[in-house]
């Protein structure tokens, strides 16, 4: 395989992987309004646990880590996703019950920093600052894949997983659960006043999003065969936020667009460019500047993102199709609709009559 295809399939891998990561953050932030600034920590847990389950026993490997069960793909990956869910339960119990919006965000970013410091400094856990490496490439032995042929193979596997997770996420966001999450995002007090258990639903959102984070992190580990603390500096969370804000908060197709523009074209494509002579690493810094500027431009001129959140018109409950015939009126005309001072002779019956 020529070098160009190696680059292209690497970019394809990151496109699909960040699509998964963005969907996970989107259900937490875009659909539920949880400002999870610790998101990259969930990605890291997925990556480390996937790696630690996939690696053999640490004795004689030159690394120190827990687990080491040599589990085949995708068992380690799934367990990585579940480990991120377990972390989500702990985080939710600590923070979600009592904190909201900016206070919650501060606690979460602090948790991310604590997690980072623990993993970076407590070597027996995941090999400290060196991180895990030499993680076996999935199916490489069975399918006799070389390093070059593994790249397109695993990009395809990741693409297939991303499509399945996109379909599942679509069902979740269109379901009554998705509607309740969006209601909580808009106003949790009103949602509670209507009988919705805000904490329980936020926890569900955290669990789903964290599973996606864990799977996304696990796939990075399986693809690259290594993962260390430099890959998940707390600032990385904001790259995933940039993906969903640029793509379009609340829209799963937007997540794919955001992943393409931010992660693929701005983060990983320039990484393959040769360094500017005399300025090694300068391109990487330019990346960060460009992403920051893009984020500000989008928030200023197109806050709804490339693909805005769409109206959900599904007639879930079979209400008459003729209702809403004027739904496409512009806001000013809609608000000018004449009020109806006289109550129409409705069919709503007294509660006692309908229930008995």
């Amino acid at each position: 395989m020529s070098g160009i295809w190696y680059y292209i399939f690497t970019l394809v891998f990151f496109l699909f992987d960040y699509f998964i990561l963005a969907m996970g953050l989107n259900i937490q932030y875009g659909e539920t309004g949880i400002l999870n600034f610790a998101y990259i920590g969930f990605v890291a847990i997925g990556a480390y646990v996937t790696g630690a389950f996939s690696l053999p026993n640490s004795v004689g490997t030159g690394q120190q880590y827990i687990l080491g069960l040599s589990l085949p793909f995708p068992l380690g990956l799934i367990l990585g996703g579940l480990a991120a869910c377990l972390f989500a339960v702990i985080v939710a119990l600590i923070s979600l019950r009592r904190l909201r919006t900016d206070y919650l965000a501060m606690v979460l970013i602090s948790l991310s920093l604590v997690l980072y410091d623990v993993c970076n400094n407590y070597v027996p856990l995941f090999n400290g600052a060196d991180g895990l490496y030499n993680v076996p490439e999935p199916f490489a032995g069975v399918l006799h894949l070389t390093t070059n042929s593994f790249i397109p193979f695993f990009a395809g596997v990741t693409g297939a997983i991303a499509v399945v997770m996109w379909l599942v996420m679509g069902r979740v966001t269109r379901s009554p659960l998705g509607r309740t999450l969006r209601a909580i995002r808009d106003d949790d007090v009103v949602a509670a006043a209507l009988g919705k258990d805000v904490f329980r639903n936020q926890l569900k959102s955290m669990l789903i999003g964290s599973f996606y984070a864990g799977i996304g992190g696990g796939l990075i580990m399986e693809f690259s065969g290594s993962f260390n603390p430099t890959a998940w500096l707390p600032g990385e969370t904001f790259v995933v936020f940039a993906v969903i804000i640029v793509g379009g908060v609340g829209n799963n197709i937007g997540m794919l667009m955001g992943s393409l523009v931010v992660e693929t074209l701005l983060v990983h494509l320039p990484a393959f460019l040769p360094d500017i002579p005399g300025h090694p690493g300068l391109i990487e810094y330019f990346d960060a500047v460009i992403i920051g500027v893009l984020l500000m431009v989008m928030l200023w001129f197109r806050p709804q993102g490339i693909v805005p959140e769409r109206l959900r018109r599904a007639a879930t409950f079979g209400v008459r199709d003729d209702l809403g015939a004027e739904a496409n009126l512009p806001p000013d005309e809609l608000s000018a609709l004449a009020p109806s001072p006289v109550v129409q002779p409705g069919t709503l019956q007294a509660r006692s009559a309908t229930n008995e």
């Binding site: 007090v189 006043a193 209507l194 079979g318 209400v319 509660r351």
Partner: protein
């Protein structure tokens, strides 16, 4: 037994009570309104009824069920639903989705209930697929009331449902409130507009400085010197 009974309720923020020893009841098929000057504790009382604030003493009973210590999200299941003042709709959801969020029943029941409610709130029929944030303030308040009805409540608590509305739309909202009360529902309203409260209510309570200063039938209250009462003086006119 009234649909809603609050007995000797005291509540507030931290150690400072805002409302003191308030007793109040609301009957089915009637509109009970709480009026009073700013800072009298009307909204605090509303929030205490629906579990947002915890009372330090007293008890709250809905349909013979003591909800005093109940978690807020469980209270609507016992028949009491709350419509907060302002920002009371899910603005990024459509009108239809707002109504669906209010539905507890099976899908079939929710569909039937929604049709019944949209037949009453004809303004909302015209905008059922529109985002709620695009509705006018009055339409948003009507949507919030309609959505509360999806829960099929026996007591509906409205916190200043006409705040910021034009006089014309205020009448629309009050006519809908009167209509709802006739549906075997107890309607409890917190209201700033004294004139309209007296015109449309069956029972009126005047809160002053955190206490239920005086209460009675609306026509009895109309005969009192309300300006003096609002200033905390005796209610004898």
């Amino acid at each position: 037994m009234p649909a809603l009974l609050a007995e000797n309720v005291t509540a507030g923020y931290g150690h400072s009570p805002i409302i003191n020893d308030i007793t109040l009841s609301a009957e089915l098929n009637s509109v009970t309104t709480i009026i009073g000057p700013n800072g009298a504790g009307k909204s605090t009382f509303a929030k205490t009824l629906v579990g947002i604030l915890r009372p330090t003493s007293g008890r709250i009973v809905v349909n013979d069920v003591d909800i005093t210590r109940m978690a807020g999200h469980l209270i609507p299941r016992h028949g009491l639903v709350y419509v907060p003042q302002n920002d009371n709709v899910f603005k990024r959801l459509t009108v239809r989705e707002n109504l669906e969020v209010g539905g507890f029943a099976s899908r079939a029941n929710t569909a039937a209930r929604m049709e019944e409610i949209l037949d009453i709130f004809t303004d909302l029929q015209k905008a059922v697929e529109k985002k709620a944030g695009f509705l006018s303030g009055g339409q948003q308040n009507l949507l919030a009331i309609a959505r509360a009805l999806m829960v099929d409540p026996s007591v509906i608590m409205l916190d200043e449902p006409t705040a910021g509305l034009s006089p014309a739309y205020t009448d629309v909202v009050w006519s809908q409130i009167a209509r709802i009360a006739k549906l075997n529902t107890a309607v409890l309203v917190v209201e700033q507009n004294v004139e309209r409260a007296l015109k449309h209510s069956d029972e009126v309570h005047i809160f002053v400085a955190g206490r239920n200063h005086v209460h009675g039938a609306a026509d009895e209250i109309a005969g009192l010197d309300l300006a003096s009462i609002f200033l905390g003086r005796s209610h004898a006119s």
